[in-house]
């Protein structure tokens, strides 16, 4: 949803729309007060419906300007609860084996919407930090160079923040399997593919899968 006061131009447009809407309401009220109330209700419902569904044309995928050494790949890994999953570790290992690679691991600080708006996100950030620390230690133990950061509660915003500074060549997104993944439900992977002109690899991590005894 976009705020009607997100910019001066948007606020000015909202003012013009308000003038038109209230001209209709006042005109209808002069005919009959209840007709004015009805017009008010209809306009409010219509505005709310448009507000919820407003979508401009999708911008073309953003091309990320490359930085860093020519022979070095820059890979952004986005994961949270699945950050230490075997499938993700395996995928990172395969990428690392292919050549010199710099990894940036981002853990969005998952928080409930209610808690985000009514309280703080410190516990969510602390939990994400614990998972990130464990993952970085594990990667380090197998000789993989990686940095890490806690991201915004929204994975798309977390990626956008990191893309600005890290400028990756590839994005690896780790999620739970379909049906259990909130990110897949929200279309995070598809949104990343639409938004960036980068290779986006989706890794499914099933944490409920019982490891086979060796």
């Amino acid at each position: 949803m976009q705020s009607p006061f997100r910019s001066e131009a948007a606020a000015f447009r909202f003012l013009l729309i308000s003038i038109g809407a209230f001209a209709l309401i006042v005109g209808a009220s002069w005919i009959n007060p209840w007709l004015g109330f009805l017009v008010f209700l209809l306009l409010s419902a219509g505005a709310f419906w448009i507000y919820l569904r407003q979508r401009g044309p999708s911008p073309p995928p953003e091309r990320i300007e490359r930085i860093g050494a020519e022979d070095e790949r820059r890979v952004l890994v986005v994961a949270n609860e699945t950050v230490g999953g075997e499938e993700l570790m395996s995928a990172i290992g395969e990428i690392a084996l292919a050549g010199r690679t710099r990894f940036e691991v981002v853990c969005p600080a998952l928080n409930s919407r209610l808690r985000t708006w009514t309280s703080d996100e410190d516990p969510a950030r602390a939990a994400a930090q614990d998972r990130l620390d464990a993952t970085l230690s594990r990667l380090s133990s197998v000789g993989i160079e990686a940095r890490g950061a806690i991201g915004d509660v929204d994975p798309l915003v977390a990626v956008e923040d990191t893309v600005r500074s890290f400028r990756p060549d590839e994005i690896v997104v780790s999620t739970h399997p379909k049906g259990r993944s909130n990110w897949l439900e929200r279309g995070v992977v598809d949104a990343l593919r639409e938004r960036y002109d980068l290779r986006v690899t989706h890794v499914v991590v099933d944490l409920e899968q019982v490891p086979e005894p060796s």
Partner: protein, 205 residues
């Protein structure tokens, strides 16, 4: 492969953590948006009182305003036109500084300020000649409450516009840096939107 792992929070000992900030929403725009949201709720509370007095109240008057009082609808209508026009000049001023046209920017800002001032002075004159006061019933209280609240916002807006004019005349702002104009512009349009609602509900309906 070089074994090297680090987390960005390592050097936080003894220092406050870095502010968490998203790149998607500018902090200043977000601040103005939250401020306007709180202002909308403030006006909402006043409108609630207004509709209670006029509609819900069992002793609500049959006519609005109750006889023998009258609202100066025409004068307030002219005042409305002045305030709405000031939004156009505000928009023109911002578009001008975005294009690097400083004289047009300053002209637009001064015109906006003068029209805002004219609105406020007209409202003061209206108060002096309206023929009733806050002690003349609940209808008078909500009338002065709503229009006075809006007038106070116009006064704040004029202060912001005045600061923009002073800064602009000293060479501040450019096509690349005009946030200091954009934010008062958002506020000014919000004040105008609120007046459209106040004028429609209190004077016309």
């Amino acid at each position: 492969m070089n074994a090297h792992a680090e987390a960005l929070h390592d050097d936080h000992h003894g220092h406050p953590p870095e502010a968490h900030q998203s790149s998607r929403v500018d902090a200043r725009v977000l601040g103005m948006f939250l401020f306007i949201a709180s202002e909308a709720m403030l006006f909402g509370s006043f409108f609630t009182a207004y509709f209670f007095v006029r509609v819900v109240n069992p002793d609500a008057p049959d006519t609005w305003p109750p006889e023998p009082f009258e609202f100066p609808v025409f004068v307030a209508g002219v005042n409305t036109a002045i305030l709405v026009t000031s939004s156009f000049t505000m928009h023109w001023a911002l578009q001008s500084i975005k294009r690097g046209n400083r004289p047009a920017f300053l002209a637009g800002m001064v015109l906006t300020f003068l029209m805002g001032l004219a609105f406020l002075l007209t409202q003061v004159i209206e108060y002096l000649n309206i023929g009733f006061n806050t002690g003349d019933g609940a209808f008078a209280s909500v009338f002065f409450g709503l229009t006075g609240l809006h007038g106070a916002h116009v006064a704040v807006g004029l202060t912001l516009l005045g600061m923009v004019i002073i800064r602009g005349s000293r060479g501040h702002f450019s096509p690349e840096h005009h946030h200091g104009v954009e934010l008062p512009g958002i506020y000014w349009h919000f004040v105008d939107v609120m007046w459209i609602v106040v004028y429609s509900v209190v004077y016309l309906i």
